[in-house]
């Protein structure tokens, strides 16, 4: 099994946490998104979207899109579960994850920021765009948490919601967003920060970290 990634990619970070929670340790191949290594033909043959992460299985099958990879992982390695069995609760956890994966993250990925810069936006304007996208999304995420959330998003064990939240909080901090309005998200992030799976998946623990 081979994970294609990049230390700073939020989506790859999610998958690293999921793999670590499952104690699955694939080989890894790094594609530097800053220098455009992911855009070469060789990687496009692996993932036509030229995005990370992608997970190559031992039979050569390639899985793409972080949430689809994590779903496959959860079905293939059931313990510990990343999603609840209860069908309504499962949909609520997925909604929290999608609120990050669809409504925050795509607005601040590198391709979008490049388009804004190409349109003449200053770095301050780009940073403002990012902070607004994250703040809007985090306000919704706070409201989507169940009243009982503790210490993790949906209870006593970390799962899909947490492994989407933590990289997004990391990104928010990198772009200087004030997290004071989101105390529950910050508390969950702190709870995750002490767990070995979350520690080993951190960008600064990756071999390509700069």
């Amino acid at each position: 099994m081979l994970l294609h990634g990049y230390f700073r990619s939020s989506a790859a970070w999610r998958v690293r946490i999921a793999l670590a929670l499952k104690s699955v340790r694939p080989e890894t191949r790094i594609h530097n998104l800053r220098t455009g290594e992911h855009l070469d033909e060789a990687y496009r043959a692996v993932n036509p979207q030229a995005l990370v992460p992608a997970l190559e299985l031992d039979d050569g099958t390639v899985l793409t899109q972080s949430l689809a990879i994590i779903g496959w992982l959860d079905r293939s390695y059931p313990e510990p579960p990343l999603l609840p069995e209860n069908t309504v609760l499962r949909a609520q956890v997925e909604a929290f994850a999608l609120a990050i994966a669809c409504d925050i993250h795509p607005l601040q990925n590198l391709k979008v920021l490049k388009r804004l810069r190409a349109a003449g936006w200053s770095e301050d304007e780009v940073a403002g765009w990012i902070r607004t996208a994250i703040a809007d999304g985090f306000a919704a995420c706070e409201a989507l948490l169940p009243d009982s959330a503790a210490p993790f998003c949906f209870g006593a064990a970390p799962g899909l919601a947490d492994l989407c939240l933590v990289p997004q909080i990391g990104s928010a901090r990198r772009f200087g967003l004030d997290l004071t309005p989101f105390p529950r998200l910050v508390a969950i992030d702190a709870a995750c920060a002490g767990l070995p799976a979350f520690i080993s998946a951190r960008p600064d623990r990756q071999p390509d970290a700069i």
Copy 2:
């Protein structure tokens, strides 16, 4: 069961197709996104993200995010299945759906377009932004299709991938994208267009269509 929607919302359109394929017919409530009806306090109490769709179950539980709602629907009403049982194939179908739901649709939703207009972009510039986002995503979608795709994305029956694709094609046409480079996607859209579930879910068949 009550579906909160808007005729032109791609995400609500996906859910309408899924409900129709399952022969589930909830009541509907319309929130005009153009006039900002979705932003009022009453709807925020239903869905803190103030997005459509949201599905209220009979016990008052609210499900949000189209893909999470569709997942719940597929588990609660198994026939016909919207996702394959095979765990790898399932991840590939989900990846195709996420390539649309995460990597295309969020870049062209109303909130983002409003921000670009507020930054002084002309309508031509906004339309160019949209067309680039869809064209980039569709190129990837064509490549993510299995060689065997016919007449639907992943075989002989429509499913999650198709019900994400059709509204995105509708949006592409609305914004004047040339679809010539995407012949397989166009052929799948045409195959879906003849099915009752896809016909009844079309925006122009909704009571709020203008």
